[in-house]
Amino acid sequence: MARLCAVAGIGQTQYSARRDDVSIAGLLREAATRALEDAGMDWPDIEAVVVGKAPDMFEGVMMPELYLADALGCSGKPMLRVHTAGSVGGSTAIVAASLVQAGIHERVLTVSFEKQSESNAMWALTVKTPLQASVVAGAGGYFAPLVRAYMNRSGAPDDTGIRVALKDRRNALKNPYAHLRDPNMSFDTIASSPMLWDPIRLHEACPSSDGACALVLTSERSVRKTKYAPAWIHATSMRSEPTQFAGQEKVNPQSGRDCAKDVYKKAGISDPRKQIDMAEIYVPFSWFEPMWMENLGFAPVGEGWKMTYEGATALDGDMPVNCSGGVLSSNPIGASGMIRFAEAAMQVRGQAGEHQVDGARIALGHAYGGGSQFFSMWIVGSAKP
């Protein structure tokens, strides 16, 4: 039987287009220091460090974990790095949690980051390969045809994506760390923003952000008395599948469905929409909210858009989604998954401030990456499982 693992400290940086005031190391340090403070701990308390980020080509620093060892106080401690594309923030937290659950370490620091201003993510995501035809432009170019396929098969109203973007950007106004905080953002601003990868408009796409997120994960006996009680990890799960194969369900991936099913089973959840109080899910393009609502079993296939339409996913809805403003409002890619996991934990700790869901006790953190092929999820609760 695995040991209990608590989310005892959470730290986030300010997310913005360009954090010129800090180096990459300084950026991680900012998040890590805040997480340690939140946990009532200091560097010597930490036994091991787990770092995550997306492809090294984003910053052009090969194996950045080596250069980060001093900034993260790793002298004399085990350190390891995780990489599962966009889902990495989530899988990094899960790897760190497993070190506690397995009884290997008492107190683990996990940090994930991206400093997108150091380059242009499009380079790293769509490398022109010799002898091939280059026709896919960045993540938007890859996912836009899948969004179109979803629109077509669900018959969802065309403005569903605009409604998701508006909700998330409004939620971001309540999150002091969010990158995009424009109080004048309206339905019309989003609807009239240029199509980048038709059917995805500019304001229906995530920004490029600099930022880091950190968690202090501890065993039950290492939890210290701090302002907020810890969040308890009830279940974690990861699943993957090949980038492309015949018969693949690209719009509603099998690995995502399997991952959700597994994490619910481990957490004793039979009716996710009833039993889960809120979810932070990885929505880099607005239409992925309804797509993931179906993939995660919150809505029947073809009906995810109704949750957006009926306001179920709003902050005051019955299944609030991305109360922090989500990936649509802040996207330091490697950190984005961990931010989802962190925000879910903040909710059940009652720590989410203006974007707090009243009485949230059970929350889902979700991340995906690659060509919708890596999934990581956790369920956290205010009470021990």
């Binding site: 106080g73 090949p242 015949a246």
Partner: protein, 338 residues
Amino acid sequence: MSEIVSEEGGILTAPHVLEYPYRRSVGPVLGRFFTELRAGRIVGLRTQQGRVLAPPQEYDPETGAATGSDFVEIGPGGVVTTWSWVVRPRAKQPLDRPFAWALVKLDGADTAMLHAVDAGDLSRMRTGMRVRPRWRAERVGHIHDIECFEPEPQATADNGLGGERQRAGELAMAEEAQKPVTNIKTPMRLEYRYSAGIATSRFLHGIAQGKILGQRCPSCSKVYVPPRGSCPRCAVATEEEVELSDKGTITTYAIVRVPSESIDVPLPFASVHVLLDGADLPMFSVVQECPLDQIRMGMRVQAVWVPREQLGPTLQSIRYFKPIDEPDVPAEKLQETV
């Protein structure tokens, strides 16, 4: 064909260069180091234990503590603590003639920094030799503001360990009212030799003859194009070759209106998934000869090839797909092949 393709035993290879102009934010500590370099000075940073780190580091490598801002001027001369001779310098290295990569412990520093030493000849290099920086006349706030180090003239050169060590003491902030350095440019260039492998090479040899060759999985019978030599789902080798039609169906698409360095197609263009007749997995391609607002899922299309004499073993031999006069395939038949 723009690419220089070579072939050995049927396997195609081509040069693959990744080159990006990264822009690194350096933070306050290294920012100060680079700002001082621009002014022709070298600073180290004194830790709480009194060690002088050079170059300065934001966090003490031993304790992980933030190192603060106790900067001290060091050098400019120093001692080579170890080195390695470069016989044939590469394009982006600091010198175009044989030189040494050396760890140089500057006077007043407790750690050594890596830089090039222009000794002229291997016989002049030795551990313990004294060196001094050769500054560039035009400095921008970068490690290359020091072009390299060079042997100190005469004096103590043979008695390297006895070199003068002087601590410059507390350093007043630079007087120049210049903006501190916050960023440096760190261009990267990686040169690879891309190998297409067995399955893709066979496919590309087919393309060079105007044929599209897929492979059928012996286990699930699905036909992959381009083939990968194995079925990602069944994890078995695929050997049976299947020639496919160059006609197919658009299963989904996007209209791309945003530029990307890797794409040569003029904007806006239709990026499509095309399921070739007989294949079980769509290919990524482009549709032209069709108004963008008339492209639709289920639309029938056919490949437009480059002229026969220009055919080569590259997917660029297929210029794009164009609509053909056949009835659309109903959407429900395309569910599994997005």
